[in-house]
Symmetry: C2
Subunit: 358 residues, 2 copies
């Protein structure tokens, strides 16, 4: 990681200005809930400026009663509030060697907020999803022209699909983040929250929900936000979906100096999808030996779990390599090595953090 | 088209040497059957050197009896001989403005040969295709590593899938081209012929046939050899399949000089899929007026139809723009303008040929 000459906006690391991409310095991790102003920002186009009073969300496609709903009407529907961890599918990308294209995220393209909104299931029920429907396409207001020669010509909007079962299960149309109105950069007035999936699925500035009986193969789930899945020895393009289990160390941070022969608090966060984090292990010797960290707070579905470990640093000064490793209730853990089939995404292999003991 | 400093190999225009891509100069079109030595050559990797006596074709996947068959055994099965026109999906690419990536084919990445071989249906019946199977993947021996960062890591083989119904209908496993053994550059010892589809589906150097109940999304039908299909205002990535109707002028060629006030033979070929060519019209004034050309020979399914027109050239010298336009028995004709959603493929809009009348 090259952290030299780094630019900051509002305490966040600038990974791109146009479109705006901002990362939380992960060593600032302090609490289960990430303050909204620290939460990473991921955009693909200029941030849409939306008049809430003129905003309509359309529900259409393979439904019995297509309809549109405005902001006021949406707020009258039953709402829920849940903490959900969102992680960018390219989080940790700047650890990859050799360097790959894409926003060079370090550790901080991840965060947990309390999201309040209407379960998508309520809108789907109101529309009456037809029996043969298989997917729900979520489309944002954000859009424009892309320079990628592999992209469709003309204007396009950011859009992704999810299976109908997932859409019904726990997807939220959120209008509040940590108790306040969504800020423009987080999808004002309404965004989707797709728990357990990489955040590209949690469409911001939502404008359209299209129910369909055909698999959707838009740009952002084929050319972009896709990886290679093996069928025997053949590689097939597959759309990114669920987050992969991961533990990250917040402190000490990469390159930090810690005192020798001292008790140092190592802490961070760990997350998975579906199951829950059962164990976080820490190695302070580059992966030779492992010790179990303490899980903090209580387990909540689709949200990270904070953890800490009291590290008795060696008496002799020198470089030490810290590695954290998570295991979940479904027995899944992190791979040791990077799987090249994942391209520039789904980076959850063990990442070393080097610290100086002095 | 920039035809300056053009290189030739065996009378064919060199469009690439590594991998080898050779085009027939289309003004050499003389007969319904393209001589093998004039037939365009399209490769993606080095041409495999295959020992016929050690060659096996594997039929596997969702079948009751997977098996392998060798060359000798294949020749013992019932064979058919049919003329089929093959056209590269990127034929005419160097007419596109602005220039796009890819092999810069002119008019000659198309040809018609008599192919002899075993109907794929025979092999599928022998294997016993399971009821839920939907696609048949054809895999070539040709392969290697790609430089495209969007390609799967490691080695891959050229492979494409076709629907089971198409595979059963008329796909051939050809071992002869124009009555002789396939030359190495055309897929020796055995290649697929998929009538009516762009030629990327007619896998050469065939080594494996995999029946599957899952849509195949390999590199050569997603990242490559795909286009944008509209679903309302949304663009979706779709795999190239059927050839689009087209008429091409062989003579006079681009930039050719013809005598004024003279009867000049304009001739070429026209093709479509499914239906048959009903009409070829020619305009000698840039598309203002059209006259019907004479269709030559008889109509054969999935093969081009040659045509000719006696053009009484103007008395006054000057530039004249010739355009040919085909219409088929299903009422389809060529678009006037290029559809940008087709990217670098499926180029069948009206193409002007400029000639000098002197």
């Amino acid at each position: 990681m090259d952290e030299d000459s780094q630019k900051f906006i509002g305490g966040k690391i600038v990974r791109g200005e146009s479109p705006l991409n901002l990362e939380m310095p992960f060593e600032k991790l302090e609490s289960f809930i990430t303050p909204t102003e620290s939460f990473y920002v991921r955009t693909h186009f200029p941030i849409p400026s939306i008049d809430r009073d003129a905003w309509w969300l359309h529900v259409e496609g393979d439904v019995e009663n297509p309809f549109a709903i405005n902001y006021e009407q949406l707020l009258e529907l039953g709402s829920v509030t849940i903490p959900v961890t969102l992680e960018c599918a390219g989080n940790n990308r700047n650890f990859l060697e050799p360097k790959v294209k894409g926003v060079q995220w370090g550790l901080g393209a991840v965060g947990t907020a309390e999201w309040s909104g209407v379960p998508l299931a309520i809108l789907l029920d109101r529309a009456g999803v037809e029996a043969n429907a298989s997917e729900v396409i979520l489309e944002g207001t954000d859009g424009g022209m892309l320079e990628d020669p592999k992209s469709p010509p003309g204007q396009l909007h950011f859009a992704r699909s999810i299976p109908v079962e997932k859409a019904r299960a726990d997807v939220l149309l959120a209008y509040k983040m940590n108790g306040s109105e969504l800020p423009p950069e987080h999808g004002f007035p309404v965004r989707a929250i797709v728990p357990g999936w990489y955040a590209m699925a949690s469409i911001k500035w939502l404008q359209r929900i299209i129910v369909t009986d055909q698999p959707f193969s838009g740009y952002y789930q084929t050319i972009d936000y896709a990886y290679w899945k093996r069928r025997g020895d053949m590689a097939e393009l597959a759309s990114l979906t669920e987050m992969q289990i991961k533990a990250q160390i917040a402190k000490p941070a990469q390159g930090e100096t810690v005192p020798a022969n001292f008790s140092v608090r190592v802490h961070g966060a760990a997350w998975t999808r579906d199951g829950e984090i059962r164990k976080v292990e820490l190695s302070t010797d580059g992966g030779s030996t492992w010790s179990e960290a303490n899980l903090l707070g209580e387990s909540k579905p689709n949200a990270w779990r904070l953890w800490e470990f009291n590290w008795q640093t060696p008496r002799t000064p020198g470089k030490q390599t810290l590695i954290a490793r998570a295991t979940d209730s479904l027995g899944r853990t992190q791979p040791v090595l990077r799987d090249a089939d994942r391209g520039t995404y789904m980076i959850n292999h063990l990442l070393p953090i080097d610290v100086d003991v002095r």
